[in-house]
Each structure stands twice: as structure tokens, then as C-alpha cells.
Symmetry: C2
Amino acid sequence: MTASLAPCEDLSAVSAVLAAQVRAGQRGLATASAEVRRQALKALAETLQARRTEVLEANERDLRLAADDRLAPALLDRLRLTSFKLDALQRGVEQLADQPDPVGRIRRATELDEGLVLRQVESPIGVLLVIFESRPDAVIQIGSLAIRSGNGVILKGGAEAVHTNRALIECLRAALTKAGIAAEAVAGVEGRAAATALLACDDSIDLVIPRGSGDLVRAIRASTRIPVLGHADGICHVVLDAAAEPHMAREIVVDSKCDYPSACNALETLLVHRAFLPKLAPIGEALRERGVTLRADEAARQALPSAEPATHADWTREWCALTLGVRTVDDLDAAIDHIHQYGSGHTEAIVTHDGRAADRFLTEVDAASVFVNASTRFADGYRYGLGAEVGIATGRIHARGPVGVEGLMTTRWLLRGNGHRAADYGAGGRSFTHRPLPS
Amino acid sequence: MTASLAPCEDLSAVSAVLAAQVRAGQRGLATASAEVRRQALKALAETLQARRTEVLEANERDLRLAADDRLAPALLDRLRLTSFKLDALQRGVEQLADQPDPVGRIRRATELDEGLVLRQVESPIGVLLVIFESRPDAVIQIGSLAIRSGNGVILKGGAEAVHTNRALIECLRAALTKAGIAAEAVAGVEGRAAATALLACDDSIDLVIPRGSGDLVRAIRASTRIPVLGHADGICHVVLDAAAEPHMAREIVVDSKCDYPSACNALETLLVHRAFLPKLAPIGEALRERGVTLRADEAARQALPSAEPATHADWTREWCALTLGVRTVDDLDAAIDHIHQYGSGHTEAIVTHDGRAADRFLTEVDAASVFVNASTRFADGYRYGLGAEVGIATGRIHARGPVGVEGLMTTRWLLRGNGHRAADYGAGGRSFTHRPLPS
């Protein structure tokens, strides 16, 4: 059941009750065995198969309404579920089912004294609020990660996908029920007012995960005290050092810019060491062949005659398109300063064969991902080998960069004693052993 | 220099500039070598020694003004620095200097493909805002942890300690200068308006660490979007299970309640399994001998004739004194429900010899620290073997429970390649090896 929060109700009160229900359901999910969570994911894959016609019909209905509303073709494309997409989702859920269960994993164990053993174990965070736009795939992607990690989840999708989302949320809840867990651990809500009310529930919701545009993320950050995991902007740079090898420079710049221009890890501004300018023309040529519009500063335009003149505002742009800013820098310090001033802390790369410049770049650049001689496009949970990806975080608290299931975990400290009293320790008393134990 | 932010200035603008200066200084501290940070801590210990007279005189001045203002004796006590306290602070700084440096520590290393190696390394969070009451010791404790971890720090103490805090902040800045690092990584501010303005700088301050009363922490949480590391309340429980051994139960209850009643990890409400009631009287007697006032429910008062009748509001109280609530529960489920309803997620303990009850308690109780047969008073960074303690966090994001230096660290992902392009991977192309490397 998708909880429908009608505007005539007291939304704040209802939202708090809903969040409390999800937490109660989550406790059942978290304290169930790893095998039960695995069974729930297996049941989810089966349910997605069994209800495929239902899900595709719901999606057809959303697509028809969206076409009537003249939704942009790119958005229609994101909204559309196909058998191919559902196959991929189902495979993802099956893979997740067979991954190791993170709940209760021991992060460290210490003997504090004879018979007094401390263990730090991984535990679910609690209740997640996922706010996403258009792509209904997110329901299954994040919902399955929540089940794997023992977290409760409230899903709020876009109005254009309402029927698809309802059908997919029902699949999640049915899978929980099949595995003998309370379906209340997963809930769906609809409408902007419900989202606003839930964002005020900082006592009962532990983490907000936005999936959508930078504007969505910024609006959410500005309107909640709940921690937000994600990123608003991906303003990534590639620095061509004086000691960059020209062929490698061209390959990395073209890949970073052209592989998927609307991705958050795509290149937005190229920073060129003045000493590299004489070797810049072939890179400009390669980009032009791929249809990239260049916006370069005065010095770089000497090497890039077809480039438009850049303005200061260009350094703050996430183009999400085949446009690239090009700025000349006098040295590595100037490149790093530019990155710290204009970058969004997402992904920064340098091309260089100077070991000292590479080391300085890796040490000094303050961003989630910092690369030497590799494309910015590698910043991705799958490519990093994290398995499923929750998102890419540019905050510095909790999780940073591509975030896997571990971003949905916190820890608890478990201590087992045999009647130990704190007063027995300290001046003249017993001493702690603090002996690390194999975890 | 303690930046003094006069109320006539535009506090928001000045605060943002100050935070930006601290971040610039912090970058120098973070990118310096581990040896330079060690030297800075050594210099801090020396400076505390060399300026001892100056610091004690500043403290005398604050104490005189506080006495004129009729500050409560407990607060005067916290405000007072002595040679003994300064010795302890100095020793703490020296020990911290010789601890391993966390900056750049490799958390995991993975080969993504031949010649493409990913490392997740620990990095400072950035700029900390520490807001503390009364105890000027916090300046050196948190300031030295910030230096060790490569973080910048803005310190805002109470008005009653203004001269002492200034003198101690000067010691921190002098130590940085001696080690050849910009003193701007550490700044002090004064006055409530400055704190309010800084709490609005969520773009330039990364983490707020409050040190003080629950009211202070609640007020800070309610007025900022910056993540807050700490706890407002410590409402801790001990559960006496049906299978609790009576002698052990007495020792743990007395230690949890009486060892240091105003500590956040002290016991506030005792939950007694109905089957244990016949064995409760000697525990009540032991508590009475230690001067504890009992406030018990109807059933428990049968065993504790001297207890006052408890009211519902007692279950929400952090007494910070020799008062203890006592409630009867029908079973373990009722005890856990009470803890989830009234606890603050700090520290929860059970006394039992029933292995299944112990396991259920450890699995099901959702709190930062969960204990079996040990006093709640063990919840402490030093006792856990974490070395220096930043604070105890009851949030679920970033750090939970007693937090050591690692709570001041985030990570960055560093990737070294040899011209690798993302477009070469995927359908029909190269595959990732995702081979774990020794870190």
C-alpha cells in the first residue's frame, strides 16, 4: 500500500507516524537473519518476474499521461521501463541477494580486560528517505539496497511515474511479506507536500538520499536538517601539466568529456599549463571532431582558433553537454587554486609524467576523487568495485565519493563482561589491556 | 589573535571570510608532513610549559570576574585551571604527538585493471567549529586533536573563560607558527552573535562539535544545517533480566549509578523483570547506602519500601544526580520497547546469565553502545582504547558512540592510471579486475 497523504490532513503529524511505522518495520528487517534478508531479495526478483505485465502496464499508463502532458523526450526516455531494463534490475537484485550481508559484520574487536570484550559491529542506519525524479528504476535499486542493509525506506518519486512507482513499491512490500518480514519497512509517498513534511521529520528519518538534478539536491539540502547523501554539482577538471604526454592528454580529455557528457563525472573545464599550450592544438582538433564546442581564455585561443572566448561565468558551469571551458594556468598552484575555487569536490584529474607534480596533486587536491593519468569517468561505484552504488557523495561527513552499501551502515559498540565495574579501574586500580583481537 | 567580531559589523560576511581563512590555513596543515604535525604538537607542549604563568594569570582574572558575577561553585570549579590540570593537558599533547598520524592512511587499495590502482585514503574533514562551555581545557584537547588530524578549527568558548581561552588559543597558534605552518588554521571567536553567524556558514564549516550541556547541544542542532557531532542526552538503562545473578546485578547497578552520577553514561532508569522483583531489595538497600533516591513504579515499590512513587515523566529524565527511576517490565520485549521509546541511544546494558536473552539484547537494542554484564560507565573513548576522545555521538551518521581521532577524518579516493579511458570498458571491451591489494 502506498500511503496517500491527502493535503487536508495534518501532514506533519501523519508524516511522523509514517516514519515511526517504517522504523518499527525496519527493526524487524534489521534483526532478522542474513538468510531472511537474502530470501526477501530472492522473493523480490521472483515478484518482479511474476508481476512484469502489471508493472509494464502501469508504466504504459504513465507514459501515455506524460505524452499528453508533452514531457520532454529525454524525460520520457528515463520514465520508460522495458523488458530489457526489468531484466537488468532483476539480475541486479539476484546478485545483491548473493552478496555478503553487512549487518553485524565486526569492524574491530578489542579485549579491554580479562573477560571484557568490545566489538564494533555494523548496523543499519535506520530510516532512509529517497526522493527521486522520473527514473522508476530507483525504486528497485535503492529498495533492494535498503533490504540488503537492513534499513527502512520511504520512497517519494515524481508525479509523472506515479503508477509505475506504486507497482514497484508493491513488489518490494510483497517480497518482504513473502520472507516473513513486516512490509512496513518500505513505504511510498506521493506529492510535494508529503516530501516537505517528511523532510521536517529530523527525529525519525536518519538520512535523505536525493536522486535527480542539482536543483533537486540543492532544494532538499536547503530545506532539511536531516543529513543528505549525494551531490548537487559535478564540476570536474582535467589539468594538463607541463609534463603531460600529448597523446595521453588527448585520450584522457576526449574520454572525460565525450564518453557521457551529461554524467556528473564528465569534464567541464580543462586547465592547461602555459608550457603545454604549444601542444594543445591537436587536442582541440580531436574535440572538435567529436562535436565539442570550446570556450577558451585568451592565451588558449591562440592554440584553439575555433574556440569561442570564455567568460568568468564559464568556470562555474556544469555544461552537461558537449561544451568545454579551457583556461590557461601558470603553474600547478594556480591549477589547484582554480579547482578549490570553482570545483564541486567531485572528481579532479591531472595528466603528467612528472612524479612530483602527480604526488602534489594527489596530496593537495581536496575532492572526493583525485586522479593521475586516468579519465574522470572512472569515478563510479561499479568501476571502483563497490558493487551496487547508493550515489556519489561530495560531502565530507559519513561517506565521500562513490558510495556502496557501506554508506547505508553505521556501527554499534557491543561490550560483553562478567560483572565488570568502572570504579575498579584508574589510579591504584586495575589497568585496561586494550588488546586487539582478530575480528 | 582572537578574531573579535564586533556586533556593528556584518557578522555573516565576516564569519564567511574567517571560515575561508581557516580553510586556507587548514590546507597547509593537511598537506604538511606527518613530522611537521608532530613538531607542531611538540611545540604546543613546550609553549604550554613556557607560558604557564601567563595562562594561569589569565585564568585567575576570569575566576575573579566569575566570583564577582556569583558563578555557581560547580561552574567555578570547571573554569579553574591548575598546574595539575595543565600538567595533564601537556602530557596529553605529548602523547598525541607520538601517536601515528592519520592523514593519508590507506583504508583500502584495489587494482581496477592493469596499471590502474585505486586507493581510499584518510583525509581531514576540513574546518571544525567547536562551541564549548566553561571548561577551557577543551581549547587544548580539541585544538591538539585538530592539529593531529590536519583539521582547521574555530573555537568559541563561554564568556566566563574569555581570558583563559584567549591565552590558550594563542598557545595553539604560536605552536603552528613554530612548526612553520600558517597560524590561520586555528581561530578563536567570542560572543553569542559570532557563534550564531558561524552556525549559518554551512558552505565553509564542515562539522560542529558542541561540548556542554544537553540544552547547548539541542540549541545548536536546532539552529544549523552543519552536521553536529555529539549528544544532547544520556538516558541510559540497565535491565535486570529474570536470569540476572543478584550479586552481579547489585555491583553493576551501583557502579552505573554512583561512579559519576552527572556523567552522560550514568544510569538513569533501572528496568526490572517481574521475575527478578523478589531479589530486588538488597540492591535497593545498597543504593540507599550510597545516598540514592529511588523513584519506583507500584510493583517495584513492594520490594523497595523506601522508594518514592514514580511518575511517567520520570522515564524521560536524565537525573545527573543520585536519583534513579525503577520500572517493572513483564519480559525482555517490554524492556527493549521501553529503551527504544525513552532512551537517547547512548548506552544500554543488561544483566543476565541467559545466553539467549544476552544475544537478543545485543542484536535488537538500537543504541550506540549495548552491554551485557558490564557497567554503563565503560562507554568512553579512553576505556574503549581509542586514545583521545572527540566526544560521544548518538547520531547514526558518520560516527557513533565514543569517537576518537577517526571521527575527524573523511576519505578521498586516489586513482593512478597510465592513460586509462572509461570508454574502453563495458560491452565487448576490457573488464575490470577489481583485485584487492594489500593496504
